[in-house]
Symmetry: C2
Subunit: 224 residues, 2 copies
């Protein structure tokens, strides 16, 4: 498999080059860019729906909704009030890559945009390897998935800046221990900012909104 | 990316060769082999724990517990009464492949074994492409993941023979519609056998146990 490893390195290095170009372009425009990653069904789209509902008047947001198949998520985000929403269907690929994002960005006018939110394919492994030119990765994990997941899928938690522990309304329905999942995540990455939310019920989201607003403020301060 | 595609084809074709060898070996020994696939946290390990509890006296089972990191699952399965349990840690890879399984099988004495259960890495995309030499793939989906998942990750549902709709004890806690998920899954693959279970509460599992027993009976009948 040496040949496979060497070709993977080449693909990743090419990806990193394109991601660096994307990052430079977004930085120039002062846009905060987040790459949202998680297992399928952890609540990435629900989080974005809530975020649109709460911050659409305060921030100009652009959204890219990645999926293996279907444009369901992009439709949901448009219905939730998203003004710039683009689907990115990989057609089988298990992650977004920088080239795919570049192609989408070439067709969006981002003038005046504060935040670009990229919803990755639901996959707790592969997206961790592909830089999309984002400022930060945000990993979601839901209380129905098992509290040992950070230990079993460490790369994603190591490379993320924030972790959203979602579906806290379902705590107590299984043997999931929220203190244990936080301890496990912080053992992999002590710098994680952690939010505890229920995107279905709409609870615990203010801290997330404020964090996002602070990121935008800091980016603008850095530019001025 | 033509080079990447061509190397992927080569890797898959090499994988298929090894899988065919594994399949021939297991067939010769009359062993029913299942490859369990799902998102992280859908309940693969819980299903295997329940299956050991119910069938350990009726069937001789061997289990391979795949994970990106940790041997947590293998430990759980041993505690649940598994007599032949082997961890298979990929060390970062997002799926099991036939070569990894071959290496594990070389070190197990499968004499008299009725069923080999392989728990894949939690990932609803990549494991669909890698034949491990199994008779059948079984896909799990839980009621907390969203009822559009079969449409969004179609390859896995197309290549599976059975679907286990798990965590039915949590129905009603979200807007997940069990009829819709079944409709979606059957639109991708009309031949799916569907089970509805709660591995936490232990409900709905008899149909699954009987299906497994029938597979073993049919395999033995085929050999005699």
């Amino acid at each position: 498999m040496a040949e496979k490893v060497s070709i993977e390195k080449k693909v990743l290095s090419k990806n990193d080059q394109i991601a660096a170009e994307i990052r430079a372009g977004l930085e120039k425009q002062g846009i905060v860019t987040l790459n949202l990653v998680s297992s399928p069904g952890s609540g990435k789209t629900s989080l974005l729906e809530r975020t649109l509902g709460a911050l659409n008047d305060k921030l100009k947001m652009a959204l890219i909704a990645g999926d293996v198949q279907t444009v369901n998520d992009a439709r949901r985000l448009t219905r939730a009030g998203g003004k710039i929403v683009r689907p990115l269907v990989t057609g089988g690929a298990c992650h977004l890559d920088a080239q795919m994002v570049k192609k989408v960005l070439e067709k969006i006018n981002l003038a005046g945009t504060d935040v670009l939110l990229i919803e990755n394919v639901g996959n707790l492994v592969c997206p961790s390897s592909y830089d999309l030119g984002e400022d930060l990765k945000v990993v979601l994990i839901s209380t129905t998935e098992g509290d040992d997941k950070p230990l079993k899928y460490p790369a994603m938690f190591r490379r993320s800046s924030a972790m959203i522990l979602n579906k806290i309304d379902l705590l107590g329905m299984s043997n999931f221990n929220p203190e244990q999942v936080k301890k496990n995540a912080l053992s992999i990455n002590p710098h994680l900012t952690i939010f505890e939310t229920s995107c279905t019920k709409g609870t615990g989201l203010d801290a997330w909104y404020n964090w996002l607003l602070e990121l935008v403020k800091a980016k603008k301060a850095g530019k001025s």
